[in-house]
């Protein structure tokens, strides 16, 4: 993955398919100090049970991953060596040799989980966020492999997830707080404004400015993850919760060029239908009256 090169596409960087009035997050990883206040605030506000107490060995990350009961997850990447295996000898002014990122549901402009949902439990709200209606979800689990980012999960009551209601859960972008005119709990709690909440169009302008500033300071790798050029690709058309990264997306466990899974539905159906016709002809030839 060290070979992955992020290059801007002229006219595509910083553009998003987000609908007018959509709200979202800008998570600027260059400002993250890894305090996990967002994780705690999310758990407190949404009354999510604690994670199992344990040691992963993944640097300072004992949370591990987003799950049904963990909707913010701070990743810790220690830059021990570069892609050629050399130890870094220079230190960046803003973040030493650490990369920290608070991961969250991306609230995709076209969401794989929502398209997959066979009950209509997953909806797009008036804030253009993607929310699971808990009174409708029947826990079929089809949204789980349909998320290209590994966000949504069923609460199966095993391991860390203690509630065990067997339904799908993920970040709601604090729908209840938005209804009352408050910003989401994680953004509110973030002490460095690494997590910013607002209109996607405003945030995208801010992100473009920030990337330009970072590049002027010599951070050439700085780029937006979640516009139409990176992350919001393949029919996803942009992420309402997007990021500023300073390394290839794979370093943060993010897919560089994900695709909306349902894009495959029509071609896959056509090939299946063609095969069906071929098999039908074969069956008729084999079984017809002679």
């Amino acid at each position: 993955m060290s070979t992955t090169v992020i290059r801007d596409q002229p006219g595509r960087t910083g553009t998003t398919g987000a609908r007018p009035g959509a709200v979202g997050f800008l998570t600027d990883t260059t400002l993250c100090i890894g305090c996990k206040a967002c994780e705690v605030a999310c758990k407190q506000w949404n009354q999510l049970p604690m994670d199992e107490f344990g040691f992963t060995g993944y640097s300072y990350d004992n949370t591990g991953d987003l799950s049904a009961t963990t909707w913010r997850h701070v990743a810790f990447i220690e830059r021990i060596s570069d892609s050629e295996g050399r130890r870094p000898t220079t230190m960046r002014a803003f973040q030493s040799n650490w990369l920290m990122m608070s991961d969250v549901c991306k609230h995709c402009v076209n969401a794989g989980c929502m398209e997959a949902c066979p009950t209509g439990a997953i909806i797009r709200t008036e804030f253009d966020t993607v929310v699971v209606q808990q009174d409708v979800c029947n826990g079929c689990g089809y949204c789980v492999p349909a998320c290209p980012f590994g966000v949504i999960a069923l609460d199966l009551g095993d391991g860390r997830a203690r509630v065990g209601d067997h339904k799908a859960h993920k970040c709601t972008l604090c729908y209840d707080r938005l209804r009352d005119g408050l910003e989401p709990a994680c953004a509110k709690a973030c002490p460095t404004d690494s997590i910013q909440f607002g209109l996607v169009e405003d945030l995208m302008d801010r992100a473009k400015q920030r990337v330009a500033d970072l590049r002027a300071q010599g951070v050439e790798e700085a780029h937006i993850y979640g516009d139409r050029a990176v992350g919001g690709t393949g029919g996803i058309e942009g992420l309402n919760a997007f990021f500023i990264l300073t390394a290839p997306p794979e370093v943060y466990n993010l897919p560089a060029q994900p695709e909306l899974p349902q894009r495959k539905t029509i071609p896959a159906s056509v090939s299946t239908a063609l095969a069906a016709v071929a098999f039908a002809v074969g069956a008729i030839l084999s079984l017809r009256r002679k």
């Binding site: 220690e78 794979e250 695709e259 090939s271 079984l287």
Partner: protein, 343 residues
Amino acid sequence: MAYERRWETRRRGGRSAGDEARESYYGVPVIHRAPWRWEIPTYFFLGGIAGASYVIAGIAHVFGGDEERPVVRAGRYLSLAALIPSPILLILDLGRPERFHHMLRVFKVRSPMSVGTWGLVVFGAFSTLSALIQAAEDGLFGRGTLVARLLLRLPSRAIAFLGQFPAFFVSGYTGVLLAATAVPLWTRNYLLMGPLFLASALSNALAAITLILTVAGRTSHRSLRRLERFETVVMGVEALLLAALRLNSGKTIARPMHEGRLGRIYRVGVLGTGLGLPLLVQAPGAWLGRRLPRGVTVLAALLTLIGGALFRYLIVTAGHRSADDPQATFELTRARENGSRRS
């Protein structure tokens, strides 16, 4: 999602956290695997047989002569018998089984699971009706009773013909359902999954019908040979599609299919027992007219069915493994070096 699992995964092969951290985020999966258990591959197997045996029965009914009546009869009954457990399995697999009817509150064309639910409902009506007509023809509702007369008056050929559409749908849509996910093994092979599931469903249904007819011993040798001929063709196509799947997946994404226990299941169970042996045994009988002892035919059919069940288990489980492998997801979603990206 519990990290204990990842700890074990990481320790396998003696790789340190540092090793994993160089290639991915400590080996943590990029996407979440489907939470499905044994019910889903079992449904894929039974639902495939239900759909495909309706196809065989229907085509034998519409295009075949009187000689094919036993085939029609076996196919109609088998279709319903394999169909009845299907919704039960699907409901059992739900996190909240008591809410199964929430599937029926919407129809979403873009969601293969939603379309599949409705397809299964429609097919259920056809499968039940055709089995009832067969029962009436067999006199199970008595002679001249109201129910029997009603059922016998129905246009059974037209029903068999119309039923072909939902029957083919139920046999193949499961492949499309898996293809429309972010799971590397399934979505990389999106054009192959549906045809492969169709081929497997047909070969399993043909084997099951052959098995029933051979054991019952009430069908002509010629009729059986026709079934076996078609079965060898379908199995040949299935083998080709499997080879294409292997090639198209590439080394990283196909890894779960050739490593460890799943690799053995693939080679010995699916390729050897499920396809190779039955083909070897049946092909001479089917195409050169050599008559096989009944025991051998029964054995070949049983092996095909075992292979079919193992194939469904393999493709689901190998998919889970490929979802757990960050390298597989990265290969699928890698940025192009030249900057020209899929839009």
